[in-house]
């Protein structure tokens, strides 16, 4: 191992450390929020509205227009963002991987169907799809997650299909087929493990993207219930307060920034680690 390579690894670690510290801290805080803030920052106190941050130990990051504790709400609000981020990616992965496996492995009619479906999906601009979708079925947590799944499974399907196509001709698959291993077993035991790397990379980056998309939707008034604290909702509601009570939207904004940046750093680091050939681009 050359000195340069060792140094490279050292610098890689900076990306990893920064990523894990940012995303890890935020995730941990969010997961611990029921213990840290049992009331979930829901306590309205009109008398203490818009307290400035760092002036009152009970409200370290100040209070919002309804006198709720910003710190508690930021920490609790992360639950929605992370839930939307992870659940939508999980859904998209399941749908996308199955579709990709089927279309790449069986080819022919299924392949055509799935890929044309994917083309249609890719040709519809996301936000426009979102406003139409929400206008039909309404907003809310569940619908937001479904919307994100609908708009993102294609990435996984394409990625998996491409990989399956190139794996199909590999010797171990031929061998497995020859000795009569059932298709389903080949798909899940032999093909899937080989795809894990790029899929995990794409997932990490997508959780980051979806947290941002959720906040965009909420900003446009299409997102989740405003009574449930969420980062997107706090940003959107706080935007008109930026000039006289900056903390109402700056802290949730930083929460999004740190979490998403952490995930992006991790994704980038993972990509170099798991997917050196760069099958995933983001």
């Amino acid at each position: 191992m050359t000195q340069a390579a060792a140094r490279l690894r050292h610098f890689k670690n900076i990306e990893f450390i920064l990523g894990i510290v940012l995303a890890g801290t935020m995730t941990l805080a969010v997961l611990l929020s029921p213990l840290l803030f049992p009331d979930g920052g829901e306590q309205i106190n009109l008398a203490a509205r818009l307290t400035r941050p760092f002036t009152d130990w009970h409200h370290l990051l100040g209070t919002d227009p309804l006198g709720r504790d910003v710190l508690a709400r930021v920490v609790t609000g992360g639950r929605i963002s992370l839930l939307v981020g992870f659940a939508s990616v999980a859904g998209a992965v399941v749908v996308g991987v199955v579709m990709g496996l089927v279309s790449g492995y069986y080819r022919g009619f299924w392949d055509m169907l799935v890929m044309r479906f994917a083309d249609v999906q890719l040709a519809l601009p996301f936000i426009l799809l979102a406003i139409t979708f929400i206008a039909i079925v309404g907003g809310g947590l569940g619908n937001t997650i479904i919307l994100l799944i609908v708009s993102q499974w294609v990435q996984y399907a394409r990625l998996v299909r491409g990989s399956v196509l190139s794996l199909n001709d590999r010797e171990f698959i031929h061998a497995a087929k020859a000795i009569g291993v059932p298709d389903i077993k080949i798909l899940f035991q032999h093909l899937l493990p080989n795809l894990a790397g790029p899929v995990v990379v794409l997932m990490t980056l997508n959780v980051a993207t979806n947290i941002l998309l959720e906040s965009s939707l909420t900003f446009l008034g299409l997102g989740v219930d405003p009574t449930i604290p969420s980062w997107g909702g706090m940003l959107a509601d706080g935007r008109t307060y930026l000039q006289n009570a900056w903390w109402v939207s700056v802290f949730p904004g930083l929460a999004i920034l740190f979490t998403v940046l952490g995930l992006n750093l991790l994704g980038d680091w993972l990509r170099d680690l798991l997917d050196p050939t760069g099958r995933t681009e983001a």
């Binding site: 044309r116 039909i136 965009s216």
Partner: protein, 342 residues
């Protein structure tokens, strides 16, 4: 290629400049002319199919969003069923879906998309004003991103693995991690309200492009820096760069003249692909900056159940994206025959 508030571009493996080529199919060499023609035909047929499904889906879905007649009569006092029926009649909402859809498809060819339900403005007129605004913003966002990412990407490639490389990578990821509408609002506060350097909204002269283009451009930068870096790394390894260096050309000349030119084609292709993605993600930014583009148009249209406008906007955008993807596909297919059989 899927995009949204935060733009992320996933480029299928087959389109990567340096992507591995399937070894089993890699040695097939050049195809005869007939196969090229059939490849083109197949791609075009696929695109036509997608266009039909997209327009059909859009027209159908829009009609599930609610009754425009109710919308139009809101706040008009006691509205009777008869009044509503009259309005529906005037808007031709009574016609069967397939007739309405056919009218719209004809419009795609003749450029006559009918009239807006809200005020009866010609939809073609609305699109003809909004499309250039959106395209101009998307294009300037790309330019901003390219202007930032080419020097950064080259610098990162040259200093691969060193601190500069890491710093550039992390900074470009920071840009990708901002909720863009929030960044936009903060930029407005700083540059329009506090410093009063730039107009906060609208499209009026060059200065009005700066903030929206920077906000959009920053998002693309993370991807583009990576693309430029990868392409440059590969080019820098090539022999003729070594030769150029050996000739004693200045490093700037080597990098910006020889190396950059060499990876221009794949980079331009990516930027083309991104363009389609940008168009879809621009809605939120248009809203914050009150940009008179397709996004603003679509947003008002969905709020007002303005079917003709909404379906025209979505279809025009989709057609653009399909068209760009088709061109990229064809270009790649022609350049790299191995892809054709995919």
């Amino acid at each position: 290629m899927k995009t949204g508030g935060g733009i992320s571009i996933a480029i299928p493996r087959s389109r990567k400049p340096s992507g591995r080529i399937d070894p089993a199919r890699g040695a097939l060499g050049r195809f005869p002319e007939a196969l090229v023609a059939s490849f083109l035909l197949k791609r075009i047929l696929q695109a036509v199919f997608v266009v039909i499904v997209v327009t059909l889906t859009v027209s159908f879905a829009i009609r599930l969003t609610g009754d425009p007649a109710l919308m139009l009569s809101q706040g008009a006092g006691s509205v009777t069923e008869e009044d509503l029926a009259n309005i529906r009649e005037a808007l031709r909402l009574n016609e069967p879906f397939i007739v309405q859809y056919w009218g719209f498809v004809k419009g795609l060819f003749t450029g006559d998309f009918g009239r807006s339900f809200l005020g009866g403005t010609s939809v073609s007129l609305l699109i003809s004003k909004a499309l250039p605004a959106t395209l101009a913003l998307a294009l300037s966002s790309m330019l901003v991103s390219i202007a930032i990412s080419i020097p950064l990407g080259i610098h990162a490639a040259v200093h691969k693995g060193k601190a500069a490389d890491q710093v550039i990578r992390i900074l470009s990821l920071v840009g990708l991690s901002f909720p863009n509408f929030w960044l936009a609002i903060m930029l407005v506060l700083v540059f329009s309200v506090m410093l009063q350097w730039l107009p906060p909204s609208g499209m009026s002269g060059l200065s009005s492009f700066v903030m929206p283009a920077v906000t959009m451009g920053i998002i693309l930068t993370a991807t583009n820096v990576r693309l430029v870096r990868t392409a440059m790394l590969e080019t820098l390894r090539s022999q003729y760069i070594q030769v150029a260096r050996a000739k004693g050309l200045s490093e700037t000349t080597v990098l910006y003249k020889h190396a950059l030119r060499n990876c221009a084609i794949p980079l331009i292709t990516y930027f083309g692909l991104q363009f389609g993605g940008l168009l879809g993600g621009i809605v939120v930014i248009e809203r914050v900056f009150n940009w008179p583009g397709l996004g603003t148009l679509a947003f008002d249209a969905v709020a007002g159940r303005d079917y003709p406008v909404l379906q025209a906007v979505i279809s025009v955008l989709s057609l653009l994206i399909i068209g760009i993807n088709l061109l990229v596909d064809i270009a790649y297919g022609l350049v790299d025959p191995r892809i054709r059989t995919r």
